[in-house]
Chain length 354, copies 2
């Protein structure tokens, strides 16, 4: 992704330091965080310095690799103890994130056959790089397949942030948009604010602005209006989890958007890497929905005119809130799933399960 | 309405002073503003110390009446000049608000036949009181008709604030909810935050809390989730304008809500006084939609933990926004119109035009 004109990934490793973009500061400040060891990697995931399943997966892979690369000594059995400690710590950072376990496992498996600490260091380094590169390639493929359905002058609506910053690069929902832009298509993106955490106005708008992609932030309430006005040609969203039958768990508000898109005959696409398809969930009813803290709804977080980051209360002191983080969009509302293997319908989805 | 256990109206007159609840301070502070003359009345409407068509109408009526009541002298022709000046000033406060003109005209007509300044004072005072009382009565009737369709344990969703503070008392969408509560029905209200101006989380939640009505503030994005979960039995919203055919112009987001309600077979009601039906608008296409300032979307306004009211930026410095203030909900999504004359369908609506 382009930031201030330079190419970045969300997370990488250099000279034994895991480096990542500090996402809570976006869009106000652009800052790289240095993580010196697996405890700091754990903390960065836990405090959401990095978020988004693919980005978390790569961070975990780099975190385990770092524990190997920086291991002090040549005793391979002690190294194995160190790997175990690092893996366990990191795996507890966000216990429900599937990709976290994938990332850890990927590096651990690669190191298993090492016959010396030095060999393990090489293998760990290579495995973490491969994991991140594969993740980037998957997103790029999503972008290329998605680009095929984006026409000149299309106006595209997206919800939340399924961008480069939620992955290692390109993003999922934003990958087709990026590739279309790189291919010099003139496009326009509506970025839903995505209350309560405003990832759309904060992060998606930041990514689009940095790439020089024409866009406007809109209140989540306004999406229906622009659909009615025929100002939206297509909706592309990401997903947190997709059931085997094609039902989609994604950021709260996705469902209402999908219903409005169908009513207005606007194609509604879900862009996902294959790891998002959950073989354990037969349909959306089996996906549990987390209700998060009431504060997220009762406050809004942002930057004051003097640059201070703080929260403002937007509701009475005594009013409670309800705060479901995700909702389920039934497959009937989905026009297609944009995957690294191509754009498929819900019937074909099950053949792509990893 | 109850506030801090006492009965209030949104606006009233006492000893020649127009008094109103200072709405921009809600919910953080409860304060009554004193308006000494028609210039202050104009300013209060213009700066939205008072908002909501019926409340603005009554404020305008009180403002003109005040100019008569406080008139210094006994020369009736000079009084007429004063009335003209006050009416013109007040009518420019929010030039598109129909009710503003109604309120002014109502008092002016009543004073026309006065044969002395003293007689005019009496007539003006009585007319303004009548105007406000009629407005309250209309809302109360909306409440009583609406209450008939609210069952024990119903969970009701509302959008924006169509409450007592948008009228003189009771509200439109909130009137059925108030009357049901006064009748000891156990109900629960979901209050949509209503970005970008958050009137739902600020004002509706305040009114509900003050009345002791069980409620929760939700992000606008969450309404569909609760509909799917069968946690919402009915939606009641107000309207800014209703076309002769039944199409509804209301706060942005109403349309998407109505589409989701229909998809989930949840009744969707629009509560309105008769003045909201616009004989000039044959259908929704003829109602112009205002796009308001970009800042409303790019910032969120609220109170810091130390009680300071300020705005925080929730989007990149360079990102633009689009900010339509209203949308049109086609009549096919409306289960019924709750009016002071009863609950009617779109076919019957035209017979109620005033």
């Amino acid at each position: 992704m382009k930031i201030n004109g330079k190419d970045y990934r969300t997370v990488w490793i250099k000279d034994g330091i895991v480096k990542m973009i500090n996402q809570p500061l976006i869009p106000h400040k652009f800052e790289i965080v240095d993580l010196k060891n697996y405890i700091e990697v754990h903390d960065a995931i836990k405090t959401m310095i990095v978020r988004g399943a693919p980005a978390i997966g790569a961070t975990a892979a780099y975190g385990v690799a770092q524990a190997v690369i920086n291991f002090d000594g040549e005793d391979i059995s002690k190294l194995k103890g160190q790997i175990k400690k690092a893996s366990e710590k990191i795996s507890h950072a966000r216990p429900t994130a599937q990709d976290l376990f994938h990332g850890i496992k990927y590096v651990k498996s690669a190191v298993k056959s090492a016959n010396s600490v030095e060999d393990a260091r090489k293998k760990a380094k290579k495995a973490a790089k491969n994991y991140a590169d594969e993740s980037v390639l998957a997103c790029k493929k999503i972008g290329e397949f998605g680009n095929n359905i984006i026409k000149q002058n299309d106006k595209i609506l997206t919800h939340c942030n399924a961008g480069a910053l939620a992955t290692v690069d390109y993003g999922t929902a934003l990958a087709p948009i990026r590739i279309a832009h790189y291919n010099k298509k003139k496009i326009f993106v509506f970025a839903d604010e995505t209350r309560p955490r405003s990832q759309g106005s904060r992060i998606t708008a930041f990514e689009l602005g940095q790439e020089g992609i024409d866009h406007a932030v809109i209140a989540d309430n306004a999406a229906g209006y622009f659909m009615q006005k025929k100002e939206i040609d297509m909706v592309i969203v990401g997903a947190d989890r997709v059931a085997v039958n094609g039902d989609v768990a994604n950021k709260i508000g996705t469902y209402k958007l999908a219903v409005a898109a169908k009513e207005n005959k606007i194609p509604f696409y879900v862009a996902i890497p294959l790891s998002t398809i959950d073989p354990e969930s037969i349909n959306g009813k089996q996906i549990p929905i987390e209700e998060r803290s009431q504060e997220e709804v009762l406050y809004s977080y942002g930057w004051t005119d003097s640059g201070e980051f703080l929260r403002v209360r937007i509701a009475p002191e005594k009013s409670p809130s309800r705060n479901p983080a995700f909702d389920i969009t039934p497959k009937k509302f989905v026009s297609g799933y944009i995957t690294p293997e191509g754009i498929v319908n819900s019937e074909k989805l099950k053949y792509l399960i990893r």
